[in-house]
Symmetry: C2
Subunit: 497 residues, 2 copies
Amino acid sequence: MFSKLFRPVAENSYKIENRFASSQTAVLKSIIKNEPSGPSVKTDIPGPKSIELMDQLKKVYNLGATQYIVNYEKSIGNYVVDVDDNILLDTFTQISTMPIGYNHPALLEVFKDQQNIKSLVNRPALGVYPGMDWPKRMENILGQVSPKLPKITPMMCGACSNENAMKSAFIAHKMRDRGGKEFTSEEKNSSVMNQRPGCPDLSILSFKGAFHGRTVATLSCTHSMYIHKLDIPSFSHWPIATYPLYKYPLEENKRENDEIDRKCLEEVEELIDKNKKVCPVAGVIIEPIQSEGGDNHASPEFFRKLQEICKKNDVALIIDEVQTGCGPTGKFWCHEHFSLPHPPDIVTFSKKMQMAGFFHSDEMTVQQPSRIFNTWMGDPGKTILLETIIDVIKTQNLLDQVERSGKRMYSGLQQLQNEFPELLHSLRGRGTFIAINAHGTNLRDAIIKNLKKNGVQSGGCGHEAIRHRPALVFQEHHVDIYLDILRKVLRDLSESK
Amino acid sequence: MFSKLFRPVAENSYKIENRFASSQTAVLKSIIKNEPSGPSVKTDIPGPKSIELMDQLKKVYNLGATQYIVNYEKSIGNYVVDVDDNILLDTFTQISTMPIGYNHPALLEVFKDQQNIKSLVNRPALGVYPGMDWPKRMENILGQVSPKLPKITPMMCGACSNENAMKSAFIAHKMRDRGGKEFTSEEKNSSVMNQRPGCPDLSILSFKGAFHGRTVATLSCTHSMYIHKLDIPSFSHWPIATYPLYKYPLEENKRENDEIDRKCLEEVEELIDKNKKVCPVAGVIIEPIQSEGGDNHASPEFFRKLQEICKKNDVALIIDEVQTGCGPTGKFWCHEHFSLPHPPDIVTFSKKMQMAGFFHSDEMTVQQPSRIFNTWMGDPGKTILLETIIDVIKTQNLLDQVERSGKRMYSGLQQLQNEFPELLHSLRGRGTFIAINAHGTNLRDAIIKNLKKNGVQSGGCGHEAIRHRPALVFQEHHVDIYLDILRKVLRDLSESK
């Protein structure tokens, strides 16, 4: 199926104009109407108009991470268009937050409804005064996509969702300890002054390489890059276990990788045991794929055994699906790939879901008011968008599309890894949530830079991974365009080496 | 001016039907068209339809704090309408987040614009790929309402804004310590594992009675109520100073209150000194009025001297204007009442501002990317609403309206406090951001409950305060309606005592 795409091409015959010949026909099958037939790069990126606006923005704003200025009106489907009219095929989608691409017609339709507009302009305190549509909307989301958990708590962003998931684990732990007894006066009085026993020594166990957010407590569970953490005080005694880092390809390294699993799980148990007397572990927080830390995968067996350890020790298992959730792995939740015997205690979400929050068990549902709480408790506008997104994913079978596009991308990247072993290694992924490593950070950064020059917006993670985070509407012909451009970039880099 | 309203009325002649006679004429001057002429209560609250929907919601959601279900379509201006068609005059406005009332026509107009709709459906990562309208929007907001600070960092909610304000203070402190030197390898490596020196022992000084959010680190600065804090681990060594708690009326207790100021400031200095060797204070976080902790006010002199202490000790002054910002005190920012000789280092905002974030000095602007950062870095849809809100506030002179309504409310409450000294005391406030205490929590709760029965949505804070948080479109005739109902409630309670 890749014969045309991967047939060796004499360097000189490779012309930009012909690059999309094969995809021109495929465009006819496009899910998204009016998508361009391929990328088109007219200026340096950032181009002159981007630079002008960035200079303006620099005066009022920290611009450190800004790449260029987007024309969100013109962007469409899988193509992001910048203010200099460069059209980029987007495999990164706003750090993985655009599930059905730019300006999807179903989403544009949503706010033609006057009632939905009223949901935008009346900022409700949903924990105290929910609107009349709220019960149905919450039921609908739970009914359609909850990972078998009965309750939902909406929040505003991924970090806050993880903060409140951790708080739920702490509260559940202490409620169990308390065995139905009332809070003591000592607990009440000491808590107000940040002291024991009201504010107890409890911990969350996290993993090396993890990313769970940039608020202070989620940073204590984040260990992907020093730049996120430097100079910020931390809960220095919260235990940090080793996340399995496998050798690839998996099928050639099974014995070794199984041994890695065994050792990591042993460490988790040891850390839980060791902390029992000093600072008990109330929860384990883990990503199904470490998505900022380098797209590090752990096996389904690892997760099943981790859950077993958590259950045995009365520790809440918090699965952070902020980046993996909402379909990119080919299942709605990545942890569905693991066939866990029980649902996790808490599953947190944000990004592609537009709204943030967490699903949780009854045990993780805090009974008293004001404990897991804030002013807004979610956002009706984002919830309406999510409902539409879920509808589009279901009616258009986009999870199947992810599977098909993912397979095509995986095989294509495998072929490129075989052709350019001096550049690429360790291909891995689920659905289109695929990563491949370059040999070193500099090379990885050069690939990403050259992809952009040639019309592809991509992203890195960890020290040397290229991570793919396309929308769920990224189809086979988009894969072909991407692979075709990547091949050119790799060939150029290989020749210049 | 209150002669009609406060003329003693024989109990029997007090009729519900006549209650709004005086305000009927005033309605003609209403800023908001189509507002009801007054509240109307038809059922218990929650009524049967609310209860039905709450039962439905209870299955999927922690309902602990929910009061009733709102019909956001029918709610208008200063009136919140519930699903049972009860119409309540709203002095609480969704925990103080609705600056220009329900369904304001200017806000409903905003999303008729197709370009603004596109801002809603394309979830941008604003730190990396801002839209072409973003520089102008940020400039516009800064130019119009920044409290003399040159930079803005948008966030998603109040707690995240405070988390990142605190992080900015930590980073600025360490950058100053480092004196331009690069991070050491030891700092980099230790930070990833939550250890010193990369994750240093630094603290934020907060005040007893303060509320800065419910994430774990902002909870370490929150001391208003034990229920927020119980069972959550805390930074137990962060210093907590005493917030001045004045005797009222202020004019009769000046000497005593000045002494309170002096003692509190002395304590702040002592705590900063004491912590210098153990866990230096990088920032002081303070509300201009402690808004959850009981509407506790501190004097302008207190704030000026606090800033002096901060400057002397190289400590960042973070003013948390999440609840006080956006006009309710009669100035756009409450701390403008204090005539500080310099702007604060950081001012955080959320709630009425619709978008969240913080304004900051150049010194508090973190240079490196990814340190003060997250995926979304704000929300274009909320920013567009804020721009419209600022426009309405300016063109309709709503800050003057707040002054006028505030004065009327203050005098009216003063009169009621004089009439019912066995029920009320310690009236205080700025603009319409006014509170009055009841003698004890039970009485306060009874007043709030009875206000609701009689058509007023109000709110409490601290242990015995009734806090007023009306919208900026709360006019003199709304004040009259409110005071009239409050008088009835107080009279009934007084008689039943």
